[in-house]
Symmetry: D3
Subunit: 137 residues, 6 copies
């Protein structure tokens, strides 16, 4: 019987939303306060959901292995970082949470060696805003 | 790649659960304390989920546009209101959270002009109770 | 050694803020949306703090006794009620959370028979608003 | 129109993760701190989701009936219990939250007499860990 | 009878902890990840507590007046800002939450015209970290 | 100017409330479900508050030093443990949260070498129950 396990992680990061292809005014109109020149920050909450069938140990995934891949591939690159300046990816793409979600999915799949399938990512940017991505089967 | 954005809103309202077609006793049995004559209230938490593909701005929906339609169509009519007496809709229908959810969906779809699709509504009546509605594709 | 125990309770109620001595316009200006004629509601969170010294049982207060007095004196009168219409107290006083707090304190002290002292009341009206009252020693 | 209602319940329980078929060292490696001999505990949060169509009362399920079956079949057996020693089921199976979820589903379906369908169970073991199970249609 | 009202506000900001008087290595040792060159961010939660006696309106403070002074003096200067670069104050002082708290207190007292006394400030930097400051009577 | 810093920690533990000096029946009456023979568990939330004056680094306490003493003296002894069986202290005293609080205070003060004063401990046993202890000046 299929089941999911969701684990919750946190990281603090700063970013600025700004598209180089647009004028200053268009950027301000499009991104509002998020376009402020020196950036601002959030305590992001990342939820990683894996899906599988419990094995003989009664678990669908080894918690330590899951934490390891998330820490190594994602948290170590994002926590206490400035997304625009510390991540090569976001020097040319706008670090919206949508784009951050697809980047996190790519980073996790690059080294995914768990028996359970990566099923879903959810990133809450603030307590009023969350983004969710189903991973293709 | 499809993704969802969920935004969270709050409104305080009062209501009384009472079906005119039923006797006093049947109402009390059916709705319990929620049938108390003068009504009671809740701080409702409304989550609106939209689904789409990020555009060139890296966003699946303009946050301000989404907030605008929710505020104009829903919050301005519900916040600090008595559902039974301030809303024509609930003078003849019981303002259960189930019925409130379908009404909110109707109000949003009436003026929906976002590129992203309205995918899901979730209303938490209290911290122990939540209702969810998937919008038909 | 003195210590406190805080227990958390919830009740849903509706109210309308309106002072009979003021004009309609003054009421609207003073209480804003809270003056809406038919009332609105909240899920109040009440925290009751008692202070004392642990006895031989290792406890400063019997949890069941504390729950009993709070339920009997307070929750049974407030939960799922309309403060203005169901409580004699608030037919002549405005049911602001400040006035509600002093009423709850009075109700608890009327039948207080716990060894521990009632030390503090805290009422959160919404998740952005809380009121606190220290009980006189 | 289909809709879901999710109600949230809590229970406190203790458990120890230990598979009899494995050596002491394998158990320690597999379950980490959760293998500590005398057990440890959690405040589990159980969310039960039912799915249905609102009836004439404006409700997809009677709240009291749902609470009754959850309390009788599940909470009364789990709250303030030691899963390994108080539940026959977990004298031979490891009480991981995965196994607990399938047991709760079985217990609920055994006496399910609500019009609404049991759609989903979610158990949060801690605030960083949650398990979800879709009930087969 | 004295009572307090606490209102909760939120702002997102970025900062970098770095003391100019110290060497690079001393800074890294002292502030850890918070010294990362390009800064990082948080969703700060600010709680402002005022103390007073309810007046004839049943309130110890006008909610709109309190929100106004907090918004004008504090939130408008901090929300979506980079503390080090957007605030003159923090070009020479380290923007720790301790220093931020004393700055917020100073800003509020500069224009405080409420009848109720500013009693306490609380700033949560993350959900694991909070700072509190009692205002001198 | 004095200020406090509160840091939040979590640990999962199990316990049984039982006083050897009392009869089986007295124990059941006194502790209710908490007297169940095999114990039950909680996810405790511990908040440690220190008080002091910010130094040249803009901090009242070094976060890493505080985390270190809490981890070494308290969390390493409590997390994933059975309080009655794994802690010598609670083989003769009842592990109520009141007694746990005084034990944690003693453990912290035994090795306290921070410049800031230990001011307060708060232990939430569940989300409806919290205990607070002011440390003597």
């Amino acid at each position: 019987m299929n089941m999911t396990l969701t684990r919750r992680y946190r990281f603090a990061a700063s970013h600025r939303l700004h598209a180089d292809a647009l004028s200053e005014e268009e950027n301000r109109k499009l991104y509002g306060k998020c376009n402020n020149p020196f950036g601002h920050g959030h305590d992001y909450v990342l939820e990683v959901t894996v899906e599988g069938v419990p094995d003989a140990s009664g678990q669908i995934a080894d918690r330590a292995a899951l934490d390891g891949v998330v820490r190594e591939q994602v948290l170590s690159r994002l926590d206490h970082m400035n997304l625009n300046q510390d991540l090569p990816e976001f020097q040319t793409r706008v670090p919206t949470t949508e784009n951050l979600a697809t980047w996190i999915e790519k980073m996790l799949l690059e080294r995914w060696d768990l028996r359970a399938r990566l099923a879903r990512l959810r990133i809450a940017e603030t307590d009023r805003n969350a983004f969710e991505l189903e991973t293709a089967k």
